[in-house]
Symmetry: C2
Subunit: 158 residues, 2 copies
């Protein structure tokens, strides 16, 4: 409780007051932290549903958006192509997606949700929407209410 400091220092080393730290005002940190913390609840829901986070990402990207190339899907899902290939392998084995070779360009593999994949995707997307609504309603009366357009503008400028 008592926090005696023998020498008179200007910067508090212990019990640092709000925003004394670099990271607390650094945009890229705020983004990473916000993403991390805002997602953690839902990610544990995803795991309870038997998916790992990257699988959920692929599923969400495929939702109502079937027939994506591995490369497209990787880009949209924010992961590297070789990782996406392996994730699709696993989801294929679990019959959540199937690979269909693209007739017009035989290098390409179109990834499509199976019936089962669609069912799971719909369920989780609707859980995600509900979760998002709750999050947003907590922010309704704050500065953060406009977070979605803010992020969309940021993304459009990157």
């Amino acid at each position: 409780m008592d926090n005696v400091q023998s020498d008179g220092m200007t910067k508090d080393q212990e019990t640092r007051p709000p925003d004394g730290r670099f990271v607390d005002t650094y945009l890229l940190y705020l983004l990473a932290a916000a993403s991390e913390k805002a997602s953690s609840q839902f990610h544990s829901h995803v795991r309870k549903a038997g998916l790992r986070v990257p699988e959920w990402r692929a599923l969400a990207c495929l939702y109502e958006n079937e027939g994506m190339m591995i490369t497209e899907l990787a880009e949209l899902s924010l992961m590297e192509q070789s990782r996406m290939t392996r994730i699709i392998d696993q989801m294929d084995q679990r019959k959540l997606v199937r690979r269909v070779s693209d007739g017009s360009d035989r290098r390409r593999v179109l990834v499509k949700l199976t019936k089962e994949g669609k069912t799971l995707a719909s369920r989780l997307v609707s859980d995600a929407r509900e979760h998002e609504e709750n999050l947003l309603s907590d922010l309704a009366d704050t500065d953060a209410a406009r977070i979605k357009p803010v992020l969309q503008v940021l993304l459009s400028r990157l």
Copy 2:
């Protein structure tokens, strides 16, 4: 170029128009994508400086904030404790940090920047600030100008 569709479908499968996809308006996706894409440039700068991203995170968290416990540092750096332990191992070997056992609680390890670590941290933090300024100045005239307070409010509610 021409995008003939033989059957009359209501949902465009190809060349989807803006925001037809779930993820394009889903908050957690926008956060992840914004974080990912906003950081990628600077992360490659970090790697050119000879650090991996998690090391940079630890360094940034330690900047002007020495003597953190592994657990604290892990929490602040958004990573798991066992990973932080190993990252500190490596940074210790590279003499960027040193471990000091906490006299008042011998379970604890205080991580401190070495002289060399401080030098590197100052350099990268100032690069980060410059990079952030550039990012923000791109957003100055948009909706996204207030992104930092928006994220801070979001974080405070999580």
